[in-house]
Subunit: 509 residues, 2 copies
Amino acid sequence: MTERATARRARRGADTGVPSGKPAYRNLTNPLAPQRAFSDDRIAHIHDTALRVLETLGIRVLHDGARRIFGAGGARVDAAGQMVFLDRGLVAQALASAPGIVTLAGMAAGRDVALGGRHVAFIGVGGPPHVTDIDRGRRPGTTADMRDFLKLSQHFDVLHITCANVEPQDVALNLRHYVTTQSQIELTDKPPFVYARGTDQVRDCFELIRLGQGLSETEFRARSRCYAVINTNSPRQLDATMCQGLIDFAQAGQMTVVTPFTLAGAMAPVNIPAALALQHAEALAGIVLTQSVRPGAPVIYGSFTSNVDMKSGAPAFGTPEFVRAAFGAGQLARHIGLPWRGSAATASNAPDAQAAYEYLNSLWAALLGGVNMVIHGAGWLEGGLSASLEKFILDIEMLQVMAEVMITTDDDPGDLFDAIAEVAPGGHFFGASQTMARYENAFYAPLVSDWRNFGQWSDAGAKTATERANGIWKHVLNDHVPLVRDPARTEAVADFIARRTRDGGAVPT
Amino acid sequence: MTERATARRARRGADTGVPSGKPAYRNLTNPLAPQRAFSDDRIAHIHDTALRVLETLGIRVLHDGARRIFGAGGARVDAAGQMVFLDRGLVAQALASAPGIVTLAGMAAGRDVALGGRHVAFIGVGGPPHVTDIDRGRRPGTTADMRDFLKLSQHFDVLHITCANVEPQDVALNLRHYVTTQSQIELTDKPPFVYARGTDQVRDCFELIRLGQGLSETEFRARSRCYAVINTNSPRQLDATMCQGLIDFAQAGQMTVVTPFTLAGAMAPVNIPAALALQHAEALAGIVLTQSVRPGAPVIYGSFTSNVDMKSGAPAFGTPEFVRAAFGAGQLARHIGLPWRGSAATASNAPDAQAAYEYLNSLWAALLGGVNMVIHGAGWLEGGLSASLEKFILDIEMLQVMAEVMITTDDDPGDLFDAIAEVAPGGHFFGASQTMARYENAFYAPLVSDWRNFGQWSDAGAKTATERANGIWKHVLNDHVPLVRDPARTEAVADFIARRTRDGGAVPT
């Protein structure tokens, strides 16, 4: 290699580690035309059906305080049956106060993330109990595994928000929230995730996030600085922990993502429009609770509707039904004017072609549905039971391709005619002036894809994409450079955890 | 298993071979909203640039007869330089006479295929020199390989048109067109493909297709009964064989697909709008030739614009640039009112995750661009150098998912409210009346995807999707049942080939 070529490669980062992406990946807006699965009339009918369900069938609320809040807001409550009935006026009032765009504050400058409108944010895998890679196989997740995923999540610009990527099962439940939160504070500067596992834990996590950024109580509460995902117990049930989470987060001005787990044929009716109506009713109930606690509390309309395999009951993702449900969920979110959270999911047990096509069908469906927040966007495997290191890297490649599709505007490509005129018939453009001027950055440079010919690829070991992904995550972790942190804040976090640990931590409820 | 369950499984085909798909897959129309990569003004500018290129730079035409036809139609011809200059009036006239919808006649009832408007047709891999599978590896294609792919192509309803899937390199070039055409006639009833490799070969193939269906000369010519793909020698060049193909097919009323091979950065300018302008100019030149030969001749606007890896010059597919080029090509096709041919392509060397995501990005891009004809829709690998049996099956799964997205209309899902009301809070829908009534056909049943849990999947051998696809193509080939053919026609085909073979066949030109 010539000196000049060496210098060029170094400049381009080819030998200096795994590229993080591009600054433009950090703030994405979606230019794709939204797709519709249903006519506007049908969407209005699904919305109306959800209102009828809430009014006449009601929702079971397994939390006394939440029922009281619903009641105080004007809902009819059947305390004996733990049922709450919401009239459509109450729903309309909540939808009027819930913000259409939510901005989640990052832990550093430039890391705020807007959700809503045409804004899109990607988030890595959330919370599987297991972790897997092709060297070590599938095993229970540990703190070390979670930290590896957090380093990977921080590394890539195309991921915007942090998540507790793996459940660290080596830490007791009363102390686990300390390690998940402390690790996020240490290893990432993107907006962090908090599990809503009871008021004591949530309060601890809020405090850690506050201390980690050196904020006053008032400063912390002035913005959404973290978020929780609240799953309903479909059909038509909100359990005590989830209700408490909605209350705790809304009171503190922190963001919740209300996501019914409405798998058509299992926890929801066997057809997609009815499953969406149930999803919609449950999400609206959660949204009403947040707005009853604190009007204007940031809340995201979550959807996870897919179908199950009717032979086995196993959940399926990236299916035609998933695509249709995603288009419909996006329509419903626009109908009520709230930001929409979707997923990029797969039921595959291996980071293989099935994992890729189910994931990518889910991702296209979400983006075409107009999604604002894609959870499980990198590394989710086995319907959420495992976090895969190789799949994380494969997914980053697909997210980066989508980001490129989104950021590429019709900027000045030079004069089209002159570009063509420069080369004679039957010639080639390798040496054309536009090529020479632009070749370094003209096209997306892939992370995983190998475009060499068969001979070169074979000589290099004939590695599959999954095997190449294995090398990439190791490279990122080996090259990891810690973020610079204020030692006083780091110490404040550690001291808080030490004190709370001595006190016994906080048991999840 | 109970008798009833056995009967039910048999009815569903679970034990009776690999499902072919659904009758509804045979005629697809695309409900997706077309995506735009460029504003209407920019599209008009790209079109105008192509017209300027044809008017002032011209195109090199390496065929005396074609130059004469262009000249007779009103083009300015520089015979010494072999250059042809087309003014915009000539282009407009050709676009006015070229049909907006082309129907390709199948070789049996119910097999006609409409191209144009919202109609979509899928075609398998076209013509790689090599064939590969995970048992035998990569090797030169043979007649036996081609016949295997033809059986697979015939089997699946989601493929609409036939292709010479693999180059049968065990047959001499002067006889190869006999085996490709005879095999298509014997093994499929979908519209067949003919290589445009000189008038003698083309005439032979037309005759075989005519004899295979017992048609008169007049009947054969009354409809488009086969098609050829005509690649330009980008930039700005039509070679003699391709010109001859356009002339021979147009004269016989048979369909051509004019597809410039405009890889940005290599045979086309380094940026996508300029590459599209070149693609457009070259396609228009081919279209003008067909309409000059015979106004109304069926011709498809083909596009294959993608980018190359600027480090190596290797072609790349399923990239952000490919997506953008597909959206733009669809816009240009609509701008001129012609059916549009796209591709579902990958540069991967293995039927792995890269093959899946590059293919699926290409497929989504084509469908979102409003494509009418997707060539290389199943089995294309290595940028077209290999046909992969496992990838063929993986791609069929992805095509079937797309077909389901397209055919699922908002048909009667029952009463949404009643469906939800039937199940109590916290219950499940497995036994609900709608579930019981619909579970057999409620959802798409996958071909390759395995949705079992990790334990069951591991116990069954932990096979990847690619390994499962291997079992599926073998199953289809093992269960192959020959089509019923009129012995007199079969004999007429064989006699013709025997006679022509005795005469020395036809050398490609």
